[in-house]
């Protein structure tokens, strides 16, 4: 009973973006690292992600982006989380040019995991993100 419960993370893709292979690899990697991964899959909206994050009580929201929409959808996701009164860090993975990373960070994205990120780095980043999430009751 005293073991810390598994960390819950939500993984999704936003909008019109069908490239989910990378996200599936991440889902398996995180499962193998002991996370409980709530996999929402394709064609989500910022609103549907927020609803799921509330119901599932996740510590981290992971968004995969392969359609060049990250500068619009990334900040939109962070805003939707904040508007709902949630304090859940948002991590973006996928195809994000390096020069866009500072902009996303300024908009409150916790971290950006671009192409070639080592899976160990992914796990460490999600752990770091989860550590910023407010804790459990009791």
């Amino acid at each position: 009973m005293s073991d810390p419960p598994p960390i819950r993370i939500l993984l999704a893709k936003l909008g019109f973006d069908g490239h989910d292979r990378g996200l599936k690899v991440i889902a398996r990697t995180l499962r193998d690292a002991g996370f409980e991964v709530i996999y929402l899959g394709l064609r989500q909206t910022a609103g549907s992600v927020v609803i799921a994050a509330e119901q599932e009580d996740v510590a981290v929201i992971g968004i995969s982006m392969h359609n060049g929409g990250h500068l619009t959808l990334g900040p939109m996701m962070v805003r939707a989380v904040a508007d709902a009164g949630l304090e859940i860090p948002v991590v973006i993975g996928g195809i994000v040019p390096a020069e866009d990373v500072p902009t996303l960070r300024e908009h409150g994205i916790f971290a950006v995991l671009g192409p070639g990120t080592a899976l160990e780095t992914v796990v460490a980043t999600i752990h770091a993100a989860a550590a910023t999430h407010d804790g459990m009751v009791g």
């Binding site: 419960p5 598994p6 499962r31 002991g34 709530i38 609103g47 509330e54 599932e56 009751v137 009791g138």
Partner: protein, 330 residues
């Protein structure tokens, strides 16, 4: 804020419709330990959900899609701030890492975002009974905040399917045509616990055979009595979850089962049995650690005894020290 105050605040918020608070409470239930015990004590005087429905079936028969359709059927009706219907979708945890991929929401995209619906994915977290240990408390929490109907969806075979009867008033088994031998294999388990059968993917060949096979097995004496002689014969209903065919009929039949339970006094009986089952299970949990510890201490060289004789010794020792530390209320 103290833990008790925090729990009370979350319960108040959840009863006013906060999804976030309800999500938090379910995490408390899942985590177990003292906080979950404190939460559960608050459930003693709270109403249970009006109805708990279990949906079981092997992977790939369309269970999640079927569940999504039934949720939509259950969600129609007057709506307050609290969701009318909640889904607990249980998936297995990895026995090696404790991690899990919970993918049932993929099939619930349409209904999962409706304000009348609350969906929670649960990993079974290594529970040896198959169903996530937190499910009974989670159902009580959902009922206490005003959720009318709770639908529990479980994946898998054998134990998991059988455990569902200890949380659900009405159990729906999902199957698909072409199971053939698999139906045979399931005879001893699934056919005895289900109150209704949905033969899903009924747009595929073989549905008539599957329905007939099931009907024959049910007629072979599996219908259960109600205590006063009015037996419930599980109906077999073809469905196509992907386009909604047969869903209304399935839901109506499930409602008829609930009415039968109420009319025959069976609802109270299954709920009493359920509490006894949970008590027994948790009592075994409390003793299990001490049995393991005592077993590890045994010096097997001191006597030539069978494993059964050793086990009797261990059980006697543990029972003789039943008030030992480490058994505080969980």
């Amino acid at each position: 804020m103290s833990r008790d105050d925090a729990l009370d605040a979350l319960l108040t918020d959840a009863r006013h419709g906060s999804r976030r608070a309800l999500g938090r409470l379910l995490s408390v239930a899942e985590r177990g330990g003292d906080a979950a015990s404190a939460l559960d004590r608050r459930m003693l005087d709270a109403p249970p959900p009006l109805w708990t429905v279990g949906i079981v079936g092997a992977p790939g028969v369309g269970k999640s899609t079927l569940t999504a359709r039934l949720v939509a059927a259950a969600a129609d009706g007057p709506t307050g701030p609290v969701p009318r219907v909640a889904v607990i979708a249980v998936d297995p945890s990895s026995p090696l890492t404790g991690g899990a991929i919970l993918g049932d929401r993929i099939r619930m995209q349409g209904v999962g975002s409706r304000p009348e619906v609350f969906v929670r994915s649960m990993a079974h977290r290594g529970d040896d009974g198959g169903l996530a240990r937190a499910v009974p408390i989670a159902i009580r929490v959902l009922g206490s905040v005003g959720v009318a109907t709770v639908i529990v969806e479980t994946v898998g075979v054998g134990q998991i399917e059988l455990e569902i009867i200890h949380v659900a008033d009405t159990v729906i088994a999902a199957m698909s045509p072409g199971w053939g031998d698999a139906i045979q294999a399931a005879k001893a388990g699934l056919l005895e616990v289900a109150d209704l059968f949905a033969v899903n993917k009924a747009d595929r060949p073989g549905v008539a055979d599957a329905v007939r096979d099931l009907e024959q097995m049910l007629d072979a004496g599996l219908a259960r009595g109600s205590g006063d002689g009015r037996a419930w014969r599980p109906p077999v209903l073809p469905t196509v979850a992907t386009d909604g065919t047969g869903i209304d009929g399935l839901w109506s039949a499930a409602e008829a089962h609930r009415e039968w339970l109420v009319a025959t006094g069976g609802l109270q009986r299954v709920r009493d049995e359920r509490i006894r089952h949970e008590i027994g299970r948790r009592a075994k949990d409390l003793l299990a650690g001490r049995i393991d510890a005592r077993t590890a201490e045994l010096d097997l060289a001191t006597a030539r005894q069978t494993p059964g004789q050793w086990a009797a010794l261990v059980a006697a020792d543990v029972c003789a020290h039943a008030d030992a530390p480490g058994t505080s209320a969980a």
